[in-house]
Amino acid sequence: MDIGKDLVAASATPLVLAIVAEADTYGYAILKRVGELSGGRLQWTDGMLYPVLHRLERQGHIEGYWGSSDTGRRRKYYRITERGLAELKEQRAQWQAVDAALRSIWHAASLPGGWAPLGSLSPG
C-alpha cells in the first residue's frame, strides 16, 4: 500500500516535529525513524525532507546547529523550540480531531473487512 502524496505531505510537519521533540536529531536519522514508525509504509523521497526541515527552521519551530557525526564529519542537527512544542501540540489536536472523525465514520458504516463493499460493486 502506497500512501498518497498529499497525505504524506500533510503528515510531514507533525511527524518531523514529534521526532525532533523526542531528542535532537539529524536528517537521515529522522527519515529512518519515520520508516520505523510507519513500518515502511510511509515513503518519502529522501531529498524532500530537507526543504521541510528548512521551512520549520524558518518558522522558528526547530533550530539547526552544526555538530559532528561519529566519523567526525560535519553534521547538521536539529532541536525543537518552545514555539515548535506549541505547534506540535496544536498539530496533535488537529490530527486527533481528524482521526476521531474518521474512526466514527468507519465505525458507523461498519464496513466488514474494510473495503469489501467497494469490491462487490464490480462482479467478476
Binding site: 539529524y26 536528517g27 536519522a29 529522501d46 531529498g47 530537507y50 526543504p51 528548512h54 524558518r58 547538521k76
Partner: protein, 456 residues
C-alpha cells in the same frame, strides 16, 4: 583530494554528485553538505544490508530524489535565493578566506581617499570658488582615476613595470593640466577638461587588463566593464540624489540650510562612487546579468526606426540640416550612441552564432547613422571653410571623423559577415583594435590643441 579519489571510487562518485548539486542556485553549499551527510548515512545502511559500494551509491542517490525535483523544492522554500543580491554575499567572502572582505576595505579606503583628496587643494588656498573653477574642471579626473588604476594594479597583482608606466602617464597628465597658461574661461581649457578624462579612462583600461593590453579579448572585457560601470554609476547617482533631496528637505524642516555643506561634499561623494561602482562591476560580473547588452537589445531597433524616419522625412520634404552651433555636437553624440549600441551588441554576441535578424537591425542602424552624419558633415564642412576653424569646431569635427571612420569600416565588415564572406570575429577585432584611437585623439585635443591655438 585527487589521490584519495583514485583510491576510493565512492569518494569520487560523491564528489561528482556534490559538484552537480552545487551548481543549483537554490541549493547552498551548506545544504549540499547536509544532503551529503544524508547520502553517506544511506549508503552505510545499504552496505550493511549487503549491497556493494556502487549499488549502495546508486540506490542512495535514487532515494534522495531527482536533483531537479529537489532543487525545485528548495527553490520553493528559499525563493529569495533565486534573486542574486547586489550586496556581496557573506559566504562568498568566507569562501575566499576573508579575501572579499579585505577587498571591500581596500575599496572603501580608496573611495574615501578619492573624496578627501578632492578636499586637499582647499587647504592650500584653492577653495571651490568661481575663481578656481578652471583648476577643478581640469583636474577632476586626476583626483580619482589614478586611485582607480591603483585598485586594478593591486587587484591584478601586476608587476612594478605597470606601476611605473601608469604613474608616468598620470604624472604627465597632471603636469599638462596644471602648467599650461590657459586664459581664463578659454575654449582650449574646456576642451582639455572634457578630453583628459577620456584619455585617462583608457589609461585605467591598461591597468584593468593587467598588462594584457595587446589582447583583443582583454580589451573587450574593458569595454564591457565600461558599460556596466556607467550603469552602476548612474544607479548610485540616482540613490545619491534621493539621499541629498531628503537631507535638504529634512534640515529645511528645522530651519537649517544644508545646501552649502552638501554642495561642498557632493563632488567628493561622486568621486568615491566611481571607485565603488568599479568594484561592484568587478564583484558582480559573474553574478548579475550584464545590463548594457540588454539595454542595447531594447534600444537598437528603436533608434534604427527613428533614424530611418528622420532620413525619410528629410528626403521627402527636401529640408536641409539647419546648421546651428550645437548641430555638430549633436551628431557627434548620435555617433557615440550608435557606436555604443554596436559595441555592446558585439560584446554580448557569441562570435560563433549564425547571423540573425538582430544583426540586420544593427547594420541598418549603423548605415542610417552614417548617412545622417554624412549629410550633417557636408553642411558643416562648408561652414568651417567659410568661417575658419575654432578649437571647438575642430575638436567636434575631428571626433566626428574618428567615429565615422570606425562606423564606416564596421559597417563594411558587418556587411561582409552578413553576406557570409567574413567572420564575425573581424568586427570584434576591429572594435578592440580601434580603442587606442579614441585615447590618442582625446590626448591630441587635450594636449595638442592648447599648444596649437595658443591657449585661447
Amino acid at each position: 583530494m585527487t589521490t584519495v579519489d583514485a583510491a576510493n571510487p565512492l569518494e569520487a562518485q560523491i564528489d561528482q554528485w556534490r559538484s552537480y548539486l552545487g551548481r543549483r542556485r537554490a541549493i547552498h553549499p551548506t545544504d549540499v553538505e547536509e544532503l551529503e551527510d544524508h547520502l553517506r548515512g544511506q549508503i552505510a545502511t545499504l552496505m550493511e544490508g549487503g549491497l556493494s559500494q556502487d549499488e549502495a551509491f546508486l540506490v542512495a542517490v535514487k532515494r534522495l530524489g531527482a536533483q531537479d525535483v529537489i532543487a525545485a523544492e528548495f527553490a520553493r522554500e528559499h525563493s529569495e535565493r533565486l534573486w542574486k543580491q547586489l550586496i556581496v554575499a557573506p559566504e562568498a567572502a568566507d569562501a575566499a578566506g576573508g579575501e572579499g572582505r579585505r577587498e571591500m576595505l581596500v575599496v572603501f579606503a580608496l573611495a574615501a581617499a578619492a573624496g578627501l583628496t578632492f578636499k586637499l587643494p582647499a587647504l592650500f588656498g584653492l577653495g571651490m570658488t568661481g575663481a578656481n573653477e578652471g583648476f577643478y574642471a581640469r583636474n577632476i579626473s586626476l583626483f580619482v582615476l589614478p586611485l582607480l588604476a591603483g585598485y586594478f594594479v593591486w587587484k591584478r597583482a601586476a608587476g612594478a613595470d605597470s606601476w611605473r608606466w601608469l604613474a608616468v602617464a598620470f604624472a604627465a597628465a597632471a603636469i599638462v593640466a596644471n602648467v599650461f597658461p590657459f586664459a581664463k574661461g578659454s575654449d582650449t581649457e574646456a576642451l582639455l577638461a572634457l578630453h583628459l578624462p577620456i584619455a585617462l579612462w583608457l589609461v585605467v583600461g591598461v591597468a584593468y587588463v593587467g598588462g594584457r593590453w595587446r589582447d583583443g579579448a582583454a580589451r573587450m572585457n574593458f569595454v564591457r566593464f565600461s558599460g556596466e560601470f556607467f550603469i552602476y554609476f548612474v544607479l548610485i547617482a540616482l540613490g545619491g540624489a534621493v539621499l541629498v533631496a531628503f537631507t535638504m528637505g529634512m534640515f529645511e524642516a528645522i530651519g537649517i540650510d544644508a545646501e552649502p555643506v552638501l554642495e561642498g561634499w557632493l563632488p567628493s561623494a561622486a568621486l568615491g562612487a566611481v571607485i565603488v561602482a568599479s568594484w561592484l562591476v568587478e564583484a558582480k560580473q559573474s553574478v548579475i546579468e550584464n545590463m548594457a547588452p540588454v539595454l542595447t537589445r531594447l534600444f537598437s531597433p528603436l533608434f534604427t526606426a527613428t533614424l530611418f524616419v528622420f532620413l525619410a522625412t528629410m528626403a521627402w520634404t527636401g529640408r536641409g540640416i539647419d546648421i546651428q552651433r550645437e548641430v555638430l555636437i549633436g551628431f557627434d553624440l548620435l555617433l557615440v550612441l550608435v557606436l555604443g549600441l554596436l559595441l555592446y551588441s558585439i560584446s554580448a554576441r557569441d562570435p560563433h552564432t549564425p547571423r540573425g535578424a538582430f544583426d540586420f537591425v544593427l547594420v541598418a542602424l549603423v548605415v542610417s547613422a552614417l548617412v545622417a552624419d554624412g549629410v550633417a558633415l557636408a553642411a558643416i564642412a562648408a561652414r568651417i571653410t567659410e568661417y575658419g576653424s575654432t578649437p571647438n569646431r575642430l575638436a567636434a569635427l575631428g571626433m566626428n571623423i574618428v567615429l565615422l571612420g570606425n562606423l564606416a569600416w564596421s559597417a563594411w565588415l558587418y556587411l561582409r559577415f552578413l553576406r557570409g564572406r567574413g567572420a564575425f570575429a573581424a568586427v570584434e577585432r576591429w572594435q578592440t583594435a580601434y580603442l587606442p584611437v579614441y585615447g590618442a585623439w582625446a590626448a591630441i585635443v587635450a594636449v595638442g590643441f592648447p599648444l596649437l591655438f595658443g591657449y585661447r
